[in-house]
Subunit: 334 residues, 2 copies
């Protein structure tokens, strides 16, 4: 294992320290609780947005903390859920009197721990907590760490759109309903060309031959649908989009946000090339692209590969997507 | 070779097509000349900024085209200089009557071709062209494709700072002098944990054992100073910073912009961890960090590794760094 790390057990805390040092004007990091906070939190009267999950998916979630997106992100160890205490501390710290929304990817540990934290925050401080669980991965029904579909790329788009709604001062019930609608309106699928190596494990999570890829890979290297012979980008894009389009709830003519995401080890050159394939397939299918996002935003350490997410959007969602955001990972309008 | 591509010969054009599709409001791409343009270029009365080089370093340079940064970027084939015709077309297209600055990384082909393009643009259209050649890599004196030092990370910082000066309406002589000062005020060094594979070559450019890294790697995989046994991030950061600090022209107390750059295949988690090491070394050395940048901005396809760039800055440069920028790769203030 060759990585830019010191002791594998210190990776998360050292990376969080670096994140805080790189963004001193916008973030503060509680290194004991391993929570990344928006520097001006709690924002009085604003719904607080808390997300989190295992580390190794950067910039998600710590890189999405800031104006117009998350108020706090709880960092677990690599590919391991944070614990309820972290989530409760974050929930209490960001509550500005308007309640808190938990944004949770559908993995058993995350769902269970966020649920416990919500109950504790209510019992302890009477904070009104609502929860949205993303589950957009069409690859598999149940998986290694999940009952039901896994939460992947839609989480990024949801944190942006719902973050803008909270920033605009919408009340908790409205923000939570929007979150549910966004979560239900997106579908994703990914593929891997290589495995990744969890620092404390020291060896690759799985092995792929030089001439095969894994279709439907999970963001922790969980098995996908099948291993297939390597193919040109054009065919790979079709294999990702066919099941996504088949399952996407979308009215005739309704536009989408199209998101081509890198898994961490794939260069931007290839992601733009994949996006070109995606635009051609969507064009043929008569699906207008309202907005797009291309880059490595929800990653799996150094895994090579990509995922494609489509989110069917309405005018409100597009307006919220365009609204100002100021985080390390996404920034515009400010 | 497993990559998200179709025919290796079509990679650059297909990726440029994807880049244009992803940023239709900000960029236009001439696919014949392989030049990425700011959509509203030429901007009348503004100095035009043209850069370019081999592809495979994305987001540099095409991802740095836009308000407050470049007016045009010429894309060569992967790791291959663009040709003078491309550069001349770009120079003529972005000239808004105030002259044009060429920003060139010090590689023999790029330098020669940009020089020829500058002469042609002057002869053909009487355009006043000035040139800055970046040469910040302290690793080696001469290299595979270079006489003198290679141009690397400082190029990114220079394009941002000088781009803001041009956007502010400063005249060509002033913009060119600033570019020279920035170029002379920065130093970089990089390391590789793995090679990368040029699509048309189909096999890794070089080989590294499982327990070694290459110190002083070039962004095309050119040999560095030496191959050494793998070491913790703390020691790697010291090995990068020691020669950078030793050579950095910097007044006592003068602050720097500190830039930790990923080579393409290294996850953000590790880059933030490296930045943490960099902050500690600079703190001990009494070097204040005025601003920072952490991410993969000048890459070598899917190479794993990183580089560190320090740029000694004055108040003017910091103000220009903070000025609005609106490009696919760097965006703030707008």
């Amino acid at each position: 294992m060759k990585k830019l790390i010191n002791d594998p057990n210190d990776v998360v805390v050292e990376a969080l320290t670096g994140l805080a040092a790189a963004h001193p004007d916008h973030l503060r990091v509680d290194l004991t609780d391993k929570v990344v906070y928006r520097k001006d939190s709690p924002v009085q009267g604003k719904v607080g947005l808390v997300s989190g999950g295992g580390s190794g998916h950067e910039p998600m979630h710590g890189g999405f903390v800031g104006l117009g997106m998350l108020d706090a992100a709880c960092a677990g160890e690599v590919f391991t859920s944070p614990v309820p205490d972290q989530m409760m501390a974050a929930t209490k710290a960001v509550d500005g009197g308007a309640g808190v929304l938990h944004i949770v990817k559908n993995y058993t540990g995350d769902v269970m721990n966020f649920e416990m934290a919500a109950e504790l925050a209510d019992a302890d401080s009477g904070i009104d907590v609502r929860t949205v669980v993303t589950q957009d991965d069409v690859a598999v029904k149940d998986s290694l760490y999940t009952a039901g579909r896994r939460g992947v790329g839609v989480t990024v788009l949801l944190e942006k759109i719902v973050g803008a709604a909270a920033e605009a001062g919408r009340p908790l019930a409205e923000v939570a309903d929007l979150a549910t609608r966004v979560s239900e309106s997106g579908r994703s699928m990914g593929l891997a060309l290589t495995s990744c190596t969890v620092p404390t494990a020291g060896k690759p999570t799985f092995a792929l031959a030089d001439d095969e890829f894994e279709l439907g890979i999970g963001i922790h290297g969980e098995p996908g649908r099948e291993r297939k012979p390597m193919a040109p980008a054009r065919e790979l894009a079709e294999q990702l989009l066919e099941p996504v389009l088949a399952d996407l709830p979308r009215a005739d003519g309704q536009p989408v946000i199209a998101f081509v995401n890198g898994m961490g080890g794939t260069p931007l050159l290839e992601l733009y090339l994949m996006f070109n394939e995606v635009t051609q397939i969507l064009d043929k299918a008569g699906v207008p692209i309202a907005r797009s996002l291309v880059g490595s935003y929800i990653t799996s350490l150094e895994m090579a590969g990509c995922s494609v997410t489509l989110l069917a959007v309405d005018d409100d969602m597009i307006g919220l997507w365009d609204a100002p955001v100021n985080t390390p990972g996404l920034r515009w309008g400010v």
